[in-house]
């Protein structure tokens, strides 16, 4: 019927069976489906019900269950560390300065969360310079800790209590404390009053801060 233009293989070289139809000269072989193709197809089909059984009706953990398990393990570890630290006092924060891993964490947190306003090296930008001896909200480590936790919303300083975990609040406060006198490049002019930091006396910690550190960690921020 049609003018056949596709040319089959030279006779006898293959066993292909040419079908008796042609469209605009295009012909088709009647070759069977490749065996491996069929097998792989049925394998992918067979996997589906097994996967559903295992993950939706069996012991497999879906993403949120997996996440919850990971978080519970993480909080357990954190709670242990915090209980070991005890009540948060000026001396606790001062003590953390010699804990290399805490300082490393503090720096990481500072650089990702605080640097947008205080500069990469705490030299000050939108927020004040944290390395000089002038302070807007007090020079003590406990003052820094309080400011970080509660924020000064009217001036644009946020409260980090809900965004950072207890151990992170401690680490970053104590890291900021350790920057005193570090004279970074491009410092912002001093703000606030000149005040020298007193060494830890540790008679009574300022009211309302004890709970922040020593209690069991807060529920997941949600």
């Amino acid at each position: 019927m049609s003018d056949v233009t596709t040319s089959p293989d030279p006779a006898g070289s293959r066993h292909d069976h040419l079908l008796d139809h042609a469209y605009d000269g295009i012909q088709e072989y009647d070759n069977p489906l490749p065996r491996w193709w069929v097998v792989l197809f049925w394998v992918t089909v067979a996997v589906a019900p097994l996967y559903i059984l295992y993950f939706h009706f069996g012991p497999g953990l879906l993403s949120i269950e997996r996440y919850d398990a990971a978080m519970i393990a993480f909080y357990d570890k954190q709670a242990e560390e915090l209980l070991a630290l005890g009540e948060v006092k000026e001396s606790t924060l001062a003590g953390l300065m010699s804990d290399a891993s805490m300082m490393n964490s503090g720096r990481k947190i500072f650089q990702s969360k605080c640097s947008p306003c205080h500069g990469m090296f705490a030299e000050g930008a939108i927020g004040p310079n944290l390395t000089d001896d002038h302070w807007l909200h007090g020079p003590q480590l406990m003052d820094v800790y309080r400011t970080v936790r509660q924020g000064v919303p009217e001036k644009g300083m946020l409260s980090w209590e809900r965004q950072l975990r207890p151990a992170e609040l401690l680490a970053v406060s104590s890291y900021v404390g350790s920057l005193l006198g570090s004279s970074p490049p491009n410092p912002k002019a001093p703000q606030g009053t000149l005040a020298a930091r007193q060494p830890p006396a540790d008679a009574t910690p300022p009211a309302g801060t004890a709970a922040g550190g020593a209690a069991a960690p807060a529920a997941p921020v949600s």
Binding site: T5, T6, S7, P8, D9, D16, L18, D20, Y23, D24, G25, I26, Q27, E28, Y29, D30, N31, P32, L33, W37, L40, F41, T44, V45, V47, A48, Y51, I52, H56, P59, L61, S63, I64, E65, Y67, D68, A69, A70, M71, I72, F74, N104, S105, K108, I109, Q111, S112, K113, S115, P116, C117, I126, K155, G156, M157, L158, R162, Q163, V221, S222
Partner: protein, 755 residues
């Protein structure tokens, strides 16, 4: 028997081929510009309509609907007439189709840079254009089905099955995803919100790839590959099996774009499993393409057309293996939101779609212009430059995707994010972005070679085209089918229940022959396949309440925030920012609590995003003071060194349209957002007060004065609201409901503990 004489309309094919090339160049130029902007953000020259968020949709729409779309039309108009032995049904409809489609493209090219957008990826065009698309598509469909009705070839060849699947499915996807309520001539808001909108969007997004960039091109391959190679198709049976499995399974796979999001887990599981099952059906097309070349591989070395086809089909095979791989949840965890997806898309688009189109055009040119191709050497050069371009592009972008994905997930020994600072991960990518620019330039250079070749070939055309006449008898009113071959089981005397013989017949696929001469039945069956597959997922997504547990503290946006959200949509921030924190520690550590389905119930449209060129914004509310945002929007690099976010300095001066707020709110109320009459009546006042408050705080923090009527204030109001509802204290009056998503969170913890 009477014999009819007829001729084919090739003028329309010439037109579509020409615009394919023109829009291809335009779309790729825009692509090159946005790629450059990621490497060097200053290249938007501070011009609003050149900024990344507005141009990237122009690039995607231009290459998908203008370049690939017109290529499909050219190929369909050429092959359909010949496969059916009939000219197109109506020259008028062909002309309406052609000019209508080009007008739509021009409208898109004007409105997208102006910021008129519905804010849904690859479906950005505003409602008047959407309606035009639907109408022109119907014109195309009538033209095709009319031609089928007047055919002189009894059976439909496999290409035409694929064309029919394309016609039906694209119409369905486009109409149902684009449903929106207008709030003005150039603005509308999606009918769906949050989780449901996300589902619809990716049902559309995934299947637009499937039915605009895959099925029609498979149809073209089935025509042009055997033609160019002058060889029969490898396997008729394979074409039947892979056609039906592909058409049925493709539709289910959409949710694989939403793994680990607030989409319910069952949907994401179905998306993944069907994607894996799609692997072999997709490869059926590749096998039939490549194995058709058995015995003529030597020709590939000489013929640039076959070279393009071979590379194209190879890329098709690669991307259809990669697709199922990427849809496996644990792989997706790493790949999602990174450039890996972009690399995947481009190996499909540049390799499969692009190269198939180029091969087709080179094959068509001598036939359309009735003369020899001007330069075969130049075509060869195009092939090599293009191939090198693709390789440079995708290798660099695969590397970028992997690099950034791994950096996002990395923890250090102390359990903190190793790269807590997002820009650190961006800076690492810049060199790879430059390599992409080089690869893209090479690819575009190849297309320009094609353009030169086409122009020169066209110049050698005859003064008037000879229109050859063809002859064929009309279809007889009655048809005696060939007898089916006898059942092997019956002849062998095997005794079975009747089902046994039926199964044997089913697997022999002879029954399909009968379907091929009944276009209506074939069309109905395709429709049943795609519609039923869609409904299996759509109905539960919309009807099962537990998919989206209510969060009592989630409230509608304030008038000012809603306006800010409109600016966010219009600037296309979603092209770089997601709003979806996945439940993995690397993410909750970086951004905050993971996203819950109930948080998005007032989001028309959803803005979960698909690529994090910048950080997730779902929990950005309250993260920075207002002043930070002002400075950052004004000049991101002044705040974050190395940022590649475009600046939006004009937002500090551009006036906010307070008068439009009530209308926007009324539209949202019609969509189901509970704004009261009083809310709407007091909207302007409320917005003015909130703006004054924010502007006041910015001034106290030491920022610029008098921003209360500027766009930036509304945007900041929106950003500061994002993700804060779930931490808002419960209003004291409702003691009955426990706070914050009790269903989702507590119960899953308990489940985990119980194990």
């Amino acid at each position: 028997m009477t014999v009819e004489v007829f001729s084919y309309d090739d003028a329309i094919v010439r037109k579509f081929t020409l615009v394919t090339l023109v829009w291809g160049v335009v779309g790729m130029l825009v692509g090159l510009l946005v790629a450059l902007q990621l490497a060097a953000p200053a290249l938007n020259f501070g011009v609003p309509w050149l900024s990344f968020g507005r141009l990237r949709p122009l690039h995607t729409n231009a290459v998908i609907f203008a370049f690939a779309g017109n290529a499909v039309f050219a190929g369909v108009y050429y092959s359909l007439q010949r496969l059916l032995k009939a000219p197109m049904f109506s020259k008028t409809l062909s002309a309406i189709h052609f000019w209508g489609w080009q007008a739509i493209i021009v409208a898109a090219a004007v409105t997208l840079p102006l910021g008129f957008t519905q804010g849904k990826e690859y479906a950005e065009l505003e409602w008047p254009i959407d309606i035009a698309i639907a109408l022109i598509w119907v014109v195309f469909a009538v033209n095709v089905f009319g031609t089928i009705a007047r055919r002189r070839e009894r059976h439909l060849y496999v290409s035409i099955w694929f064309y029919i699947a394309t016609l039906i499915t694209i119409a369905m996807l486009h109409i149902f995803n684009s449903l929106a309520l207008p709030a003005g001539l150039f603005k509308s808001y999606s009918l769906y919100a949050g989780v449901q909108d996300a589902f619809m969007q990716w049902w559309y997004g995934h299947n637009a790839v499937g039915f605009l960039l895959t099925t029609p091109f498979l149809g073209l391959m089935y025509y042009f590959m055997p033609k160019a190679a002058n060889r029969p198709v490898f396997s008729y049976r394979l074409s039947i099996v892979h056609f039906w499995t592909l058409v049925f399974m493709y539709i289910w796979a959409g949710p694989h774009h939403l793994h680990y999001t607030a989409l319910p887990a069952w949907a994401s599981t179905l998306g993944m499993l069907f994607s894996v099952m799609l692997w072999m059906p997709s490869w059926g097309g590749m096998l039939n393409g490549l194995l058709t070349l058995r015995g003529v591989w030597h020709k590939v070395a000489e013929d640039p057309v076959l070279k393009f086809f071979v590379v194209s089909v190879t890329f098709y095979g690669m991307s259809t293996f990669e697709g199922p791989l990427l849809s496996v949840r644990s792989v997706n965890l790493l790949s999602h939101y990174t450039d890996w997806t972009i690399a995947h898309v481009h190996s499909g688009a540049l390799g499969w779609v692009g190269f198939l189109t180029f091969g087709m055009i080179y094959w068509l040119m001598p036939r359309l212009f009735s003369t020899e191709l001007w330069s075969k050497k130049l075509a060869e050069a195009h092939f090599w430059v293009g191939t090198i371009g693709i390789l440079l592009y995708i290798v660099a972008i695969y590397a970028a995707g992997l690099t950034q994905g791994l950096m996002w997930l990395a923890f250090d020994e102390d359990g903190y994010l190793k790269y807590g600072d997002f820009v650190e991960t961006t800076l690492r990518l810049i060199p790879m972005y430059w390599v992409r620019v080089i690869g893209g330039t090479a690819y575009l250079a190849g297309v320009l070679m094609l353009a030169v070749n086409m122009f020169m070939t066209w110049r050698r055309r005859p003064a008037t085209y000879q229109v050859p006449l063809h002859e064929a008898p009309p279809l007889a009113a009655t048809y005696l089918p060939h007898p089916e071959p006898a059942s092997a089981l019956r002849t062998a005397g095997v005794h079975l229940a009747d089902t046994g013989y039926r199964l044997e017949r089913f697997f022999s696929s002879h029954w399909h022959r009968a379907w091929e001469r009944r276009p209506v039945k074939l069309t109905v069956m395709v429709t049943v396949a795609v519609v039923s597959a869609s409904l299996f997922e759509i109905i539960p997504t919309f009807l099962i309440k537990s998919n989206v547990p209510t969060i009592s503290t989630v409230a509608p946006y304030t008038p000012l925030e809603l306006t800010g959200r409109a600016i966010y949509l219009s600037e296309g921030c979603y092209n770089c920012h997601s709003q979806m924190v996945r439940p993995i520690r690397a993410e909750t550590e970086r951004y905050g609590e993971y996203s819950k389905p109930g948080e998005f119930v007032y989001d028309h449209p959803f803005q979960w995003g698909s690529r994090r060129i910048g950080p997730d914004l779902q929990r950005v509310g309250g993260k920075y003071p207002h002043l930070w945002h002002v400075r950052h929007m004004q000049d991101p690099r002044a705040i974050t060194r190395g940022s590649i976010m475009p600046g939006y300095p004009w937002m500090l001066h551009a006036e906010l349209d307070f008068a439009a707020i009530p209308r926007t709110m009324r539209t949202h109320r019609a969509l189901g957002v509970p704004y009261s009459d009083a809310d709407i009546a007091g909207a302007v006042e409320h917005a003015t007060a909130q703006a004054l408050g924010i502007a006041g705080e910015i001034a106290t923090q030491g920022g610029p004065q008098g921003l209360e009527r500027s766009q930036v204030v509304a945007l900041i109001a929106y950003l500061q609201r994002l993700g804060t509802d779930i931490t808002r204290p419960e209003p004291a009056v409702q003691p009955a409901t426990p706070p914050v998503d009790p269903a989702g969170e507590l119960s899953s913890v308990q489940v985990a503990e119980a194990r």
